[in-house]
């Protein structure tokens, strides 16, 4: 881990401080002493004798937000270090403005025991540059048969359980997982996919899949499982979080369930409000992802779900793959796209389009995921560790994967004209990333 000289004492001047957890959106200074936020307020005065101890940072025209949280990433370590490591993945995170990531358990071996969870945390401690929160497996080996040891996993540091990458096919196992997770106050994150209905599908089912002769994945494959998990959450009174929501039908189901008071939360990923299925006519595997990118109508419904709060979180589902998995026939290529370093500009585009206010957008990257995972971050309260992201909302640039910190290059947004990005990222008051680097 290479950190630059990190002043623990900083004064950020004249930024637009946006903290949804406190309903704060105003021009202010942020004073950081020994890695902790000491004061937030307009025109903070520092006594003459202390003035020299604080490095000033001009934040005029920039947003100062709580360190962003991406609650759905794949760091690939252990087992697939050629795609990503905890070191490279966390470097990608901070370059994208994220100070906390929750990493999914489908590593090799699977994170289904306390030893693995501790391994990830110790690697993150020594090699990572941001906070890492392991999500442990629901079932041993992700096999969908027996529960993993949630109690031990929780004690070791797991913040949630999920079989992400695979659905929990057995409704009984899902019921037991929800009940058992409730015992330890762990949220269950569900990868909603009916494998039978997917039947080898490669893209969204519809007009375009028929035209391209690619087997389709109907929206119903996601919706059937979303509905099931909502019903099981209702049955058990447990919390369920639905990952990577991609269809209009799922958004409608979640909206209705929330109205009924079901303890369901949900996330979507930037590609589901940005990319249309029509892009697949190039047969470029960079667009292959599960769930698949869908139609214009689904994109609009996902945006509406973000706007009205049906969708609580935006997470990247950062899924690194090398050319070995991606430079293949579309049918044989792996699912997944990297997103840590392209997520924020796509979310800022929603703000410019008027879909979300800055406060709403930042909430989906800070307060909301922090609440779902019950982690004490995602706010700029005085006295807390200074995890903080400085965003330039106006800077224009071209997204270029060659500049990415991630080890992988499977980003469909390469070459896209973008506006807005993280220009400085602080973890515990240490500058772990800045654009002038």
């Amino acid at each position: 881990m290479k950190l630059k000289a990190n002043p623990a004492n900083l004064i950020l001047r004249n930024g637009r401080v946006i903290d949804p957890a406190r309903g704060l959106d105003s021009i202010a200074d942020v004073l950081i002493e020994e890695g902790k936020i000491i004061e937030i307020g307009p025109k903070i005065e520092i006594g003459a004798q202390k003035r020299g101890q604080f490095d000033p940072i001009d934040a005029e025209g920039k947003w100062i937000v709580p360190g962003l949280i991406d609650m759905h990433v794949h760091l690939r370590e252990p087992g697939e270090e050629y795609k990503e490591t905890i070191a490279s993945g966390t470097r990608a995170a901070v370059a994208g403005g994220f100070t906390s990531v929750a990493c999914m358990p489908n590593t090799r071996p699977v994170n289904d025991c306390a030893a693995l969870t501790r391994f990830i945390l110790s690697k993150a401690e020594t090699e990572g540059v941001c906070r890492v929160f392991p999500v442990a497996a629901i079932s041993k080996g992700l096999e969908g048969k027996n529960l993993a040891e949630f109690g031990e996993l929780r004690s070791a540091g797991a913040v949630a359980v999920s079989d992400d990458g695979r659905p929990v096919e057995s409704s009984l196992l899902m019921r037991r997982a929800l009940e058992y997770a409730k015992t330890f106050d762990l949220p269950v994150i569900s990868h909603c996919e009916d494998l039978g209905l997917c039947s080898g599908g490669l893209m969204n089912e519809g007009r375009v899949s028929t035209r391209l002769g690619l087997r389709g994945i109907p929206g119903a494959a996601e919706e059937v499982m979303a509905a099931r998990d909502i019903i099981l959450a209702e049955l058990t009174g447990a919390r369920v979080h639905l990952a990577h929501i991609s269809t209009a039908g799922s958004v409608a189901l979640i909206r209705e369930a929330k109205k009924r008071g079901v303890l369901v939360t949900a996330e979507t990923a930037p590609h589901y409000f940005t990319l249309e299925e029509e892009l697949l006519c190039s047969f470029n595997p960079v667009y292959k992802v599960n769930p698949p990118v869908r139609t214009r109508e689904d994109i609009e419904a996902v945006k509406a779900g973000l706007r009205d709060g049906t969708l609580d979180v935006i997470a990247s589902d950062h899924a690194p793959h090398s050319t070995v998995e991606k430079e293949l026939e579309f049918e044989f290529a792996a699912n997944g796209m990297i997103g840590l370093e392209s997520s924020l500009p796509l979310i800022l585009r929603l703000v410019r389009e008027g879909v979300l206010t800055p406060l709403e957008a930042i909430a989906k990257l800070t307060r909301n995921p922090a609440r779902i995972l019950s982690i004490p971050f995602g706010t700029l309260a005085e006295g807390v560790d200074a995890d903080l992201t400085l965003i330039d909302p106006l800077i224009k640039y071209t997204i270029d994967v060659k500049t990415f910190e991630s080890k992988s290059r499977n980003c469909p947004f390469d070459g896209m004209e973008a506006q807005g990005r993280a220009v400085m990222t602080l973890v515990e008051g240490r500058v772990v990333f800045s654009v002038s680097d």
């Binding site: 089912e205 519809g206 899949s209 002769g213 047969f283 293949l328 579309f330 049918e331 044989f332």
Partner: protein, 305 residues
């Protein structure tokens, strides 16, 4: 006209004048195939590689005969399909063969879109000899040529395509080709074998074969693969045959000059009865004959580049 394409990948991207040009050219090549010395020097010194990632006898032989009758040097490679864990990727196979400076690749692949992906990575010409469930342009062209041998024009012709539309690249290429040329296409089969929104490609959909037969000028019968039962698409071949098999009884309702076509290989007694396959309205073997002429035309156009 000028034919400026590097590759011939799909019917969807061709315009009417290109299709007509290819068919005219194919007609002029038909005569060569009737000679006792069936060879012209047109592509002498050109190298054609048949790169087949999916087994095929008929199409590969047809392309090979076509290339040899034009005096090209031909090589056939049957590669196993790409695998993440072992073996060479399709792209590596292509790049290695490209290094030997061929002029044309004839590519068949079980994965839809693979010829597009590969064509984008080579300077040689690529002819798509069938990709997954997507396109089979030479088949659609030889089908059109065969229809035109028997009918004055494709315009306003009623073409009925019967069977497993879902998995059929022949159906897709023919829907695009025939509708471009002004024919009306109806696809007919059980709903499990009709892909969603195929009407957006320009075909009408029917599930009732007996209602479609009286209007048809051409009936294209598709092969029904026996695995479809295991995929929960059909209860039994027997039931399929009862409802969607083309037999003499059913054809009593057909126009007297209806053409019966099949891209092969046929499952006698499943999708088509032997007396129809071998009967007077069948042009199934004419399709095979025309296949050589159409493929000569395609190789000529791209090989001369």
């Amino acid at each position: 006209m000028q034919f400026k394409r590097k590759d011939l990948l799909g019917i969807r991207e061709l315009d009417v004048s290109e299709i007509e040009y290819i068919l005219d050219l194919a007609r002029s090549f038909k005569e060569i195939n009737e000679r006792s010395i069936k060879k012209v020097p047109t592509l002498r010194g050109k190298t054609v590689i048949h790169l087949f990632f999916e087994p095929s006898t008929r199409t590969r032989t047809s392309f090979d005969i076509a290339a040899k009758r034009l005096s090209a040097d031909t090589y056939s490679i049957t590669a196993s399909t790409s695998s993440v864990v072992k073996g060479e990727t399709a792209l590596d196979t292509l790049k290695n063969l490209e290094a030997m400076k061929p002029d044309v690749f004839v590519i068949r692949h079980s994965a839809s879109g693979a010829p597009w992906q590969l064509a984008a990575r080579t300077t040689a010409s690529v002819i798509n000899a069938g990709d997954g469930m997507h396109e089979h342009p030479s088949q659609a062209l030889l089908d059109m040529l065969t229809i035109l041998d028997n009918k004055k024009s494709l315009r306003d012709l009623n073409v009925l395509i019967v069977g497993d539309i879902f998995h059929s690249r022949v159906a897709r290429s023919n829907i695009w080709g025939l509708t471009k040329m002004g024919a009306r296409v109806v696809v007919c089969g059980p709903a499990t074998l009709i892909p969603p929104n195929i009407d957006s490609m320009g075909a009408q959909i029917s599930n009732r074969l007996d209602q479609c037969i009286p209007q048809a000028d051409v009936i294209m019968v598709l092969r029904l693969q026996k695995e479809r039962q295991q995929q929960m698409l059909l209860p039994s071949l027997r039931e399929y045959s009862t409802w969607y098999g083309i037999n003499a009884k059913r054809l009593e309702q057909a126009k007297p000059d209806v053409l019966i076509m099949h891209p092969g290989p046929i499952n006698r007694g499943v999708e088509i009865s032997p007396e129809v396959a071998d009967g007077p309205r069948s042009v199934i073997l004419d399709q095979v004959t025309n296949g050589v002429a159409v493929r000569m035309a395609l190789l000529f156009l791209l090989g001369q580049r």
